[in-house]
């Protein structure tokens, strides 16, 4: 079978790899901006500052985009992502993608590998509570979790209080840094009491990081460069899977193609994709038996909307847009006072926590990062001190600083949607609207208080007044606009991802999620894409 896949993010690539292995021919269409060469791969984070000919250019960028400044007007401050110039390629815009957001500012990527080229690797299986709205159970997807874990390498510990659902091929996690180790030890030493009093579960996070070499990828060597781009492939990125796909003769990767829409065949199906080469020139056409959308929930919805618009002139609304709300709560690990900080260590979340709720699927999921190599100047400017004093304070406290990152589940609600809006251009612009659930604010307040008490009890009190509720869009967990459902409904897909609107179209990314559990979705995106690929004869 000839399959056309749009998008080379985690969804598209894990679909493709499974399909290729099953003997299908896959053509992948992608804008596909690529990563520049990695600077001085053998150096550690600290070594870069010493040995690069111009470290300032590397860390701040040729245009100094890595400098974070307060804008003159408080309301103009953009959400801070702390993404370095070396990851700029991930977010390079494409002029053909025009977007208007109301209540949501999503990130989007046209990179080979998609947004996950700069992800933080958190890989959590959904359990049956998380999957309650999905048309399949944990047992049905568990084998694909195992398969994806084998492909990407997921480190973690099984059998701790977090009790994540089981999947095969879990590997050993990275060694804890000193701050995380102290938190873990403190939790272990008074586990029962903490459990009884706070109800917060605590343990090791799940990370797509290798602790032993795997093919061309090396094991993590604690070099501290995760944020700037792992130089040895220990931290999984989808472009690793892209290389794997490239080894198949039946795989054609057509980058430099901006997919505009699909043409319909007049019989309820699609006849092929119309693309514009990003270098300019005439539109091209790609035909296939099966069309697979993996352009990211936002990109996928855009293509469905444009396809319908082109075929019938009709502008539809894809309801049910979701994103996980994120709350960042900085804390100080008291036991680290006066201790050295560790720039040369794994940088992302090593610990995780969870707060079960009355409604099980509204479980609050959290990850803990002990801030190490993040840029200092954004912190310095936020302290109510002169920069020199702030530097002194940061130096003294840096080793104990960390952030608890809370994620909240989201549901499909009417009024949160993606659509097109005509604005006089040839193509109407993609338009999003999002409003949080009315009970959200109270929920955040209550859970933040509970989690804050728990953190204080393990010796890492939250820094008062610093908790930050990130705007919707900053969760980077988009979905819900073309949900999988057992019944046949308009603008939805079958449990196998097959569109109910266009017969030979499959949706294999977050657009097909009927619910957004709090746990980071990408592991499930990959597993679900592999599952759907496996279900195609």
């Amino acid at each position: 079978m000839k399959i056309l896949v749009v998008g080379s993010g985690p969804s598209g690539l894990h679909f493709a790899l499974t399909a290729l292995r099953k003997g299908h021919a896959v053509t992948m269409l992608d804008v596909g901006n690529t990563r520049p060469a990695i600077a001085a791969p053998a150096e550690s984070f600290m070594g870069l500052k010493r040995s690069l000919p111009d470290p300032v250019e590397y860390f701040l960028g040729a245009e100094y985009g890595g400098i974070t400044l307060p804008s003159p007007n408080p309301t103009d401050d953009p959400e801070y992502y702390g993404l370095p110039p070396s990851k700029d390629y991930v977010f390079a815009p494409d002029p053909r993608f025009r977007f208007r957001g109301d209540g949501i500012t999503p990130l989007r990527s046209f990179a080979a590998g998609g947004l996950a080229e700069c992800w933080t690797g958190g890989s959590y299986p959904f359990d049956d509570d998380d999957l309650a709205d999905f048309p399949f159970t944990h047992a049905a997807i568990a084998p694909y979790y195992g398969e994806v874990a084998r492909r990407i390498g997921v480190g973690g510990e099984e059998g701790d209080d977090l009790a994540y659902a089981h999947h095969d091929n879990l590997s050993a996690p990275t060694p804890l840094d000193a701050s995380a180790a102290l938190l873990a030890a403190r939790y272990a030493s008074r586990r029962e009491r903490l459990q009884a009093r706070h109800g917060v579960r605590f343990g090791r996070s799940r990370q797509a990081v290798l602790t032993s070499a795997h093919g061309e990828r090396e094991a993590c060597r604690s070099c501290g460069r995760c944020l700037w781009g792992c130089p040895n492939g220990a931290l999984y990125t989808p472009s690793i899977t892209l290389r794997e796909c490239m080894a198949f003769e039946t795989f054609a990767y057509r980058s430099g193609q901006f997919v505009s829409h699909f043409e319909t065949d007049g019989g309820g199906g699609l006849a092929g994709a119309v693309t514009f080469p990003v270098t300019g020139g005439a539109a091209e056409r790609f035909t296939a038996d099966v069309h697979v959308l993996a352009a990211g929930a936002i990109g996928t919805s855009n293509l469905v909307l444009r396809t319908q618009y082109k075929a019938s002139g009709e502008i539809v609304r894809l309801e049910g847009l979701m994103d996980n709300r994120q709350v960042l709560a900085p804390f100080f690990n008291l036991a680290m006072l006066g201790r050295p900080y560790e720039p040369d260590s794994y940088q992302y979340h090593q610990l995780a926590f969870g707060l079960p709720q009355e409604r099980p699927r509204h479980y609050v999921h959290g990850q803990v990062t002990t801030l190490k190599t993040g840029a200092a100047h954004p912190v310095l400017q936020s302290l109510p001190l002169d920069i020199r004093s702030a530097t002194g304070v940061l130096r003294a406290l840096r080793s104990g600083l960390g952030v608890a990152n809370l994620n909240y589940a989201d549901t499909r609600r009417a009024g949160n949607y993606l659509t097109l809006s005509a604005d006089g251009q040839e193509w109407p612009a993609l338009t999003a609207r999002y409003r949080p659930a009315p009970e959200e604010a109270a929920e955040i307040k209550a859970t933040l208080r509970k989690v804050g008490r728990f953190f204080a009890a393990i010796g890492a009190p939250f820094v008062p007044g610093m908790a930050h509720v990130r705007p919707i869009g900053a969760g980077v967990h988009y979905g819900g606009t073309l949900p999988m459902s057992a019944e046949k409904r308009e603008w939805s897909v079958s449990p196998q991802g097959q569109s109910h609107d266009f017969a030979n179209l499959y949706v294999v990314d977050g657009a097909a999620f009927p619910f957004m559990p709090a746990k980071n979705l990408t592991f499930t995106l990959m597993a679900n894409a592999a599952r759907i690929a496996d279900s195609l004869c």
Binding site: M46, K49, R50, D54, P55, V56, Y58, F59, L60, E63, Y64, G65, G66, I67, T68, L69, P70, S71, P72, N73, P74, L337, G338, R339, P340, Y341, E342, P343, A375, A376, H377, L380, Q381, L383, P384, L385, D386, I387, R388, S389, A390, T391, G392, V393, L394, R395, A396, L397, R398
Partner: protein, 454 residues
């Protein structure tokens, strides 16, 4: 020729207007002046000092009338007010008596009649001088002009200064006060009427302009007439403001926008009591809006801002040097400077970017040295987090944290132990408090000085 007129303060603000009016030749003018003026305008000048009668006794003898305009006004010490205004008048009266001059026209001020003269040595000394005149035995007329406006008016300068403050502090007096400013030419006309008609009946006559107006409305009108944006008036309690100004005055007098005494303007009605002289003036008195228009001239700079500081690379280099020393204790390396200049450009902090007054002042002060930079930064960290100084310092910090060896200052991987860390934090806190206090004081003084110059 009607007679000979001995004039003190003839080269001053009212004196100049008076000389212009009397220049038609009706009076033979003898003008007391500390220095002989350079230009010869036909007036006979007598070089002398009001307080040393021997220096002008000769010129005085034979005069028909002494017109006493000389006074100390504005921001001088109380002692100086008393010396010039009271003792000067005493000396003049003595000299008149000795020289046989029997008439005196004493130009006082509406403030001499203020019921509330607290902290206002000018008004107090002028009131005391009036008393001397009344008891002098000379035939006299005392004129009390209200606020006198004109191109070189000291009162106009202070009013304009007040009217152009970012927010106008309007002390809450016991009642809403009014003011009735008068054109300096009208004052000169009033003096000429008294002289020409030889009216020396021992009267004390107020001299005011066309109509009284509420002080707040007047200040708004002044602000509008000088091209300022709509004014925000804030009510401040009078008594504490006065006390504060009075306490600051001995040290900060030169830079204060106005003195505690001048606040009397806010506490007392400055309207003129009607009298025959005002009836004579009224047909000529220009309405207040016309007066303001005439005074305003071209609007004061609030339109295009002057170029931002550090527009040329040398300035920016000096700035980088000071800021780097402040942040790290070391001068910047050549590479740091290069990045600093380029990053300022990249982030739009260039010479042409407009700067607020505060930004300009804070940058100017912060460039003076490392400690000053820290002090101003401490202030800005609390009150101007988004200002130009912070943005520049953050840019430099971002550069310094990303290159050896200065990166170590931001990263500090070395251990210090709990006690060492605690001590370091305490020291930092103390330094910050000190810097904050110094920064606030420096900015406060600079701000007042600027207002003083405006």
């Amino acid at each position: 020729m009607k007679g000979t007129l001995f004039l003190t303060g003839g080269s001053g603000f009212i004196g100049s207007a008076l000389r212009a009016r009397l220049a038609q030749g009706a009076w033979d003018l003898r003008c007391l002046s500390r220095q002989a003026p350079a230009a010869d305008d036909g007036t006979a000048y007598v070089t002398g000092d009001l307080l040393s009668p021997e220096t002008y006794r000769d010129a005085l003898s034979g005069a028909d009338v002494a017109v006493h305009l000389a006074a100390s006004v504005g921001k001088v010490s109380p002692k100086e007010h008393w010396r010039v205004n009271l003792e000067g008048t005493r000396a003049l009266i003595g000299a008149c008596r000795q020289s046989g001059v029997s008439h005196i026209l004493h130009v006082s001020t509406i403030a001499a009649g203020y019921p509330d003269q607290a902290f206002y040595p000018y008004a107090q000394s002028k009131a005391a001088a009036e008393a001397l005149v009344r008891e002098s035995g000379l035939a006299f007329t005392i004129l009390r002009p209200t606020v006198v406006l004109g191109p070189r008016s000291p009162a106009w300068a202070s009013l304009r200064r007040i009217a152009r403050l970012p927010v106008i502090p309007l002390p809450q007096g016991a009642r809403a006060v009014r003011i009735q400013p008068v054109d300096v030419d009208e004052v000169a006309r009033a003096i000429a009427i008294v002289l020409d008609e030889w009216r020396f009946a021992g009267e004390t006559l107020d001299v005011g302009g066309a109509d009284p107006e509420m002080l707040g409305d007047f200040l708004r009108a002044v602000r509008r007439s000088t091209g300022g944006a709509a004014a925000r008036l804030v009510r401040v309690p009078l008594a504490p403001t006065r006390l504060a100004l009075a306490a600051l005055e001995p040290v900060l007098r030169p830079v204060l926008p106005l003195t505690a005494g001048q606040l009397a303007l806010f506490a007392n009605d400055s309207t003129a009591t009607p009298n025959w002289l005002m009836d004579r003036l009224r047909p000529h008195s220009p309405p207040l809006p016309d007066l303001l228009d005439r005074l305003a001239g071209p609007p004061l700079a609030e339109g295009p801002l002057p170029p931002a500081p550090a527009d040329d690379p040398e300035d920016a280099a000096a700035e980088c040097e000071v800021f780097a020393r402040y942040l790290t204790g070391m001068p910047p390396e050549a590479d740091t400077l290069r990045h600093y200049l380029a990053a300022l450009q990249a982030h739009g902090l260039t010479a042409t970017a407009p700067l607020s007054d505060f930004d300009r002042t804070s940058l100017r002060l912060a460039r003076k040295g490392e400690w000053m930079a820290r002090c101003i930064d401490a202030y800005c960290a609390l009150f101007a987090r988004r200002g130009a100084l912070r943005r520049r310092l953050i840019i430099l910090a971002a550069i310094l944290e990303n290159r050896a060896p200065t990166n170590a200052l931001f990263e500090a991987p070395q251990a210090r132990g709990v006690i060492g860390t605690g001590l370091a934090l305490a020291a930092t806190g103390a330094t910050f408090s000190l810097a904050l206090a110094c920064g606030a004081a420096s900015l406060g003084v600079a701000r007042l000085a600027r207002a003083g110059r405006a």
